[in-house]
């Protein structure tokens, strides 16, 4: 009774930038003749429209990073794709990530599809000046001569309020915020159409975080790129994302426009995430969920949230709830909700 609805979710005439269709990716380990599957991405479908910031929220080890890796095609054993497909639409041309040859994928990367990584301090080579990172990452994708290339890089840095002098610095000479802004500049220098950002502000303090998020929003406005924005911090999603999907134990449990999600979430897990956020000026007691996040190696049967769910019913431990559309842009996978609406 899978009522999956990719077509309804993107009711616009324009082809979405990214279509992820029933994607399944497992980590398979073989030890002592026993195969173990870690179901990190389990039957996830989503679409990202042109110029949209799609937020992915979830706890650590809920499969967020595995989802990104499978979407951008950076798949290394033991991770492998079990089912489903991922299609990008660059310049009116569809690209199925899993049927591309490695060199074709290489050509798309950075030019059309780029990636802002988690932990800026680990991305830049610590023993080389930052200009080398720019050269290594971007030069081949730009198709410009050397002089034109460096002019373009300097212009881009200036546009992002970074001193072009950072090119001659070593990573350790810059503060954490500067380094993160430099990696963002590095990821956006080729004006890609699709940008994946994995926890880009997690290691930063609040003031720097605010600057970096403003910078990302400005870039998105200037380039008109689509973003897939991953972070566990719900207040960051409230600030930047247009639409948010909540991942729990490798499955998408709810997806809605950001205002809808924060004001009218229907899945009990989302409701908890939103309600547990402390706010300045509000001292009412915030509760915490009982239990612990499930192990992906041995997830609970049926709905994976049922052992911790306040609304759990008999059916929840037997069957997997299907994604149901409440409105064209609000989907939720929960028996308590779909039972009430049908």
């Amino acid at each position: 009774m899978q009522t999956e609805s990719l077509l309804h979710a993107s009711d616009t005439a324009v082809e979405p930038m990214l279509v992820v269709d029933r994607l399944k990716a497992y980590y398979t380990t073989k030890a002592f003749g026993i195969d173990r599957d870690i179901r990190a991405v389990d039957d996830i479908s989503l679409t990202v429209a042109k110029g949209e910031i799609y937020g992915v929220a979830g706890e650590s080890s809920s499969g967020k990073t595995s989802l990104i890796k499978t979407i951008v095609g950076a798949i290394r054993p033991p991770l492998h794709v079990v089912g489903g497909n991922v299609r990008f639409n660059f310049g009116g041309q569809a690209h199925d990530v899993y049927s591309l040859r490695p060199d074709e994928l290489q050509a798309i990367r950075w030019r059309h599809l780029s990636y802002i990584m988690q932990g800026s301090m680990n991305v830049l080579n610590p023993v080389r000046r930052i200009r080398h990172s720019f050269y290594d990452f971007a030069f081949n994708h730009m198709g410009l001569g050397r002089t034109a290339f460096w002019d373009k890089v300097r212009d881009h840095l200036k546009k992002l309020d970074l001193d072009p002098g950072v090119l001659d610095s070593y990573p350790h000479q810059l503060s954490g915020g500067m380094r993160q802004r430099t990696t963002i500049a590095l990821a956006t220098v080729c004006t890609p159409e699709f940008i994946v950002a994995d926890e880009p502000t997690t290691a930063l303090d609040v003031i720097v975080q605010r600057d970096v998020l403003t910078m990302l929003r400005d870039i998105q406005r200037d380039l008109g790129s689509s973003f897939l924005f991953v972070t566990h911090d719900m207040s960051v999603h409230a600030t930047v994302s247009d639409r948010v999907g909540i991942v729990y134990a490798g499955r998408l449990v709810e997806e809605a426009d950001t205002p809808t999600l924060f004001r009218g979430a229907r899945h009990p897990y989302t409701q908890h995430l939103v309600a547990s956020l402390p706010k300045i000026g509000d001292t009412t007691r915030r509760a915490s969920l009982s239990g612990r996040p499930p192990s992906l190696a041995d997830p609970p049967s049926g709905c994976r949230f049922h052992p911790r769910c306040p609304l759990a019913m008999d059916i929840c431990s037997r069957e997997v709830p299907a994604m149901t559309n409440l409105t064209p842009r609000h989907r939720v996978a929960c028996f308590a909700v779909s039972g009430a609406t049908s």
Partner: protein, 269 residues
């Protein structure tokens, strides 16, 4: 009025560089701070990275000695503590809780061994404890944090969730029955659904055990939620201090205002 902690005009300077290009960095500049023994409280220390929060904590724990000024704990100068017995007596009263529970525990060692070792160490001050006494003490502190020895016994760190592991770390800190906990960013590595359980636990430890907690964080929202007093630090100096709710409802210093304005809230949605 007796003071459990008296930080008296403390500064800390670090020297950087080699012989030719030596320069000094003042991580903490002339900070004074008192916590009263009769009034247990949660004191939040907030500020950006590099503002000297962790250096201050290290001095309270006796891991760094101040360049100028004194840190008095229960009337004793922390710098004057020498020898194993004195050090143990001091650590029985001040205990740390670290940022990342996955790094605080050795991944190859069962977590209950830390608890038993800590209990054996501190209980041996008054005679050699028996196995049963040690287990009883460990179980008692685990119950304080909402766990039991049965849940933790024989487990490796990866078998527990971040929230459970951080609570185990807090239980370990509670074993010697301390007067003060120094918690450096204790919730930044804990999952969102479990974060509030740690913050609420701090509140209940203060109320039930009469424990004071120095809560170092850059999350102003949890600081507002749980703490009694707050100090806001910038570049080693305290720029604003006072009742946590008053300071954050109505910050005065430009830096505090900037900090509050930078906080993201779900209302932006």
């Amino acid at each position: 009025m007796s003071l459990i902690l008296d930080i008296d005009h403390v500064s800390k300077t670090f020297l950087q560089g080699g012989l030719l290009s030596r320069r000094s960095v003042e991580a903490v500049k002339d900070i004074s701070l008192q916590i009263e023994a009769e009034r247990p409280e949660i004191l939040s220390v907030v500020g950006e990275s590099g503002s000297g929060k962790s250096t201050l904590a290290a001095m309270v724990l006796g891991q760094q000695l101040p360049t100028r000024g004194r840190v008095l704990f229960d009337g004793i100068d922390v710098a004057s503590i020498h020898g194993r017995a004195e050090h143990r007596a001091f650590m029985a009263k001040v205990q740390p809780v670290l940022q990342n529970p996955f790094e605080a525990f050795n991944p190859l060692k069962r977590v209950d061994r830390y608890l038993f070792a800590t209990a054996a160490n501190f209980m041996s001050a008054n005679g050699r404890p028996t196995r049963a006494e040690i287990e009883a003490r460990v179980d008692q502190t685990l119950v304080e944090v909402g766990l039991t020895l049965a849940e933790v016994r024989g487990r490796f760190p990866h078998e527990l969730s971040g929230g459970q592991l951080q609570r185990t770390a807090i239980a370990r800190a509670l074993i010697p029955d301390p007067r003060l906990l120094v918690a450096d960013e204790p919730v930044s590595m804990v999952d969102a659904s479990l974060r509030m359980s740690i913050v609420n636990l701090f509140g209940s430890l203060r109320d039930r055990l009469g424990l004071s907690i120095i809560y170092i964080t850059h999350d102003l929202a949890t600081a507002y939620y749980i703490s009694d007093r707050i100090i806001i630090m910038k570049k080693g100096e305290v720029v604003e201090r006072g009742n946590a709710r008053d300071v954050l409802d109505n910050p005065q210093h430009p830096y505090s205002i900037a900090l509050k304005n930078a906080v993201l809230t779900p209302e932006f949605a």
